[in-house]
Symmetry: C2
Subunit: 397 residues, 2 copies
């Protein structure tokens, strides 16, 4: 099946020397790949272009945590996130099952180190309870039984049993494989430049290559607002939000029980730190939240702080190998929700701004993008998440 | 000039398919390369074999610090180290000058964070004064003037003006270039195996390659005691002493005064940490001292501790990029002094065990090895540093 083309889209003839496809996707992170996969599945000829640089998708920790991520005033995002968690198992099945994409179901423990930290957690819990999110207060003893290596200063914990976690690198690798299997082409080169002709998007240039397309999907994550050639009024209001993440692993030759089995989110003297365990013993520790532009330098203060705080919560981290120190740039938006929909430039579709929820929302985003690109109106959960919402709000102000 | 061959060495004919040289050196760290360079300079045909793995030479910080390294009961080592520092400028000249091998002359500041730390420093100072080493007590104000970014809790400092520091990676690179220029061949492959025939060393095998030689110089650093084929009674008593080292650098695009200009050695709640500045703004922070065998895993506790202690001494490290985290294996010996001399196996010369002083002693070691291999007896400074000293001590016990 070829995708239905909205009647306002004309087939653009390829320029001399350029290839032509139905859709070109800018960005090979989990969002771009998921879009490419679903578009290719419904019959579109798809090319994904990418600069080959590091992707936030690979730095992420893979928490699928609508409950413990729920912050004040983010209800549209929360509804979408709950839907994404509920449908994650079938998404993983389509990606090849849990052999290919390991998912953990132990849930998340939220803990506080000091009395102040625990008071802040209680405040958030009251809010989340009000939203109908399921959490359970565990006693100190129950907590210790579940996670014997937590620091003595950690008392009880709040269990969010519905939170999942996933190996985010496996998600990205599986998406790439599925997109390829569905027929999508991958083109890795320099930065992409949008080609605009007579006011509409007609393709993408990467180095000397040019790919003409009816539709361009802008899924460049934190770099979405600096893609060359995109008219200013169509740029999504995405800002890079830098996060430092550590990957700890058991030392070679040392065996023992895993340091953690649940995801642990801790408040440590008011600072947030999370620790996400993998089946192979890896522990992902994150993450800072920094507004530093597109800078991705690993900085002492951040690494020092993460190691210090992780150690306060789980002293046994000291015995693990420090396997990786990395930074990723989350695509932040003014309301922390993604930006998915047709832009002000005909032919240019935007799918970015997933901030801390890219891994969680990758599946539902790909499906929604494929729907809308095929000519359907936004589905209910996405109606408030289009790129025009920021311009409209400004007009009202 | 061909090297003089001691009369007890017979020229060994090469086996079929093997190349033959005068000397094969096992190990391409600064010690092996310095030996190869000096041997080649005096006319020997030299091949250096190396497994291509990481070298402690590249992890080191490059402190040339006989004064602040002087510990109780290590006088033979101290005399050698003082000689090495005194001759370092001419060594650097031969390596291409300070353009090629940057040396810093600001000296070392020893500081203590707590009253206990300062008391311990005072105790060491008394000892070093007794040895005639030149140090100068700086007031808090003088210290602050020299290093304005030191933590407020650091009071005065002890200046060792004669201590130098050098870019150790530049030393290794220059030694490699000089050794090559003098005619030495480099052979990088798997681990080396000593070839012994009728009780004497006759060459080295690396993978399928075999290099026959009159003399084999064992300069494999921390791996010197596990080189295949070396008869047990000839193995130097070297144990690997693991050290974690960090390399911090200014963040891209950020300019300002350097974080430090002197090398700073600090006692922080009884723990030692050093910070060695480079001209390009890099700051080398080290080092742990761990007996973990040949394991070179980067471990959380060590990195956490170095970052914490460096930050206590110099809070501004927080603003630097964490450019590298590495571990090196120092070749430790029972008396912390190097092991340089003919082994119990004819044809096998040992040059290893330089522990924390490999960069400092590389020049004088190369010269001494070339002398002894050419048939000369050990020179005065080296008479107590041969490999037989451990067996003799045991015999006396």
């Amino acid at each position: 099946m070829r995708p239905h083309r909205p009647s306002n889209l004309l087939r653009v003839m390829p320029a001399k020397g350029a290839t032509a496809v139905d859709v070109v996707v800018i960005g090979a992170g989990v969002i771009g790949l998921s879009c490419a996969w679903r578009l290719a599945q419904q019959g579109a000829e798809v090319t994904v272009v990418d600069d080959g640089g590091p992707a936030a998708s690979d730095v992420a920790a893979g928490m699928l945590a609508p409950v413990t991520e729920a912050a004040f005033g983010e209800e549209p995002l929360l509804r979408l996130a709950c839907h994404a968690v509920a449908t994650y198992p079938s998404y993983v099945d389509e990606l090849g099952g849990s052999e290919v994409v390991p998912v953990r179901h132990e849930g998340t423990l939220s803990v506080g180190l000091t009395a102040d930290d625990r008071a802040e957690l209680a405040r958030l819990t009251t809010y989340r309870d009000g939203l109908g999110l399921r959490t359970e207060q565990l006693t100190r003893r129950d907590t210790r039984e579940r996670e014997p290596f937590l620091a003595a200063s950690v008392g009880g914990a709040l269990l969010a049993a519905d939170d999942l976690s996933v190996d985010n690198r496996a998600v990205r690798a599986a998406l790439r494989a599925q997109a390829r299997a569905a027929g999508a082409e991958m083109l890795t080169g320099g930065p992409a430049r949008l080609q605009v002709d007579a006011g509409r998007a007609v393709g993408v240039a990467v180095g000397v290559d040019e790919v003409r397309a009816d539709v361009v999907v802008l899924a460049a994550g934190a770099r979405s607002s600096v893609v060359d050639g995109v008219p200013e009024h169509a740029l999504p209001p995405v800002v890079p939000v830098k996060g430092h993440v550590l990957r700890l692993r058991p030392q070679p030759g040392r065996h023992g029980p895993p340091a953690l089995t649940h995801t642990v989110r801790a408040l440590v003297h008011g600072r947030e730190v999370y620790l996400v365990p993998r089946a192979d013993g890896e522990l992902v520790v994150g993450a800072t939240v920094e507004h530093q532009g597109l800078d991705d330098t690993v900085v002492v203060a951040a690494v020092r702080g993460l190691l210090r705080d992780a150690h306060e919560v789980l002293p046994i981290v000291d015995e693990l190998a420090l396997a990786e120190v990395s930074t990723g740039l989350r695509p932040g938006t003014p309301d922390n929700a993604p930006v998915v929909g047709w832009s002000a430039v005909p032919g240019l579709f935007v799918a970015t701004g997933h901030y801390r929820n890219g891994i969680l929302l990758s599946g539902v985003t790909g499906e929604e993008v494929a729907r809308q690109v095929a000519g359907h109106p936004p589905s209910a959960l996405w109606q408030q998440l289009g790129p025009r919402r920021f311009t409209l709000q400004e007009a009202h102000a």
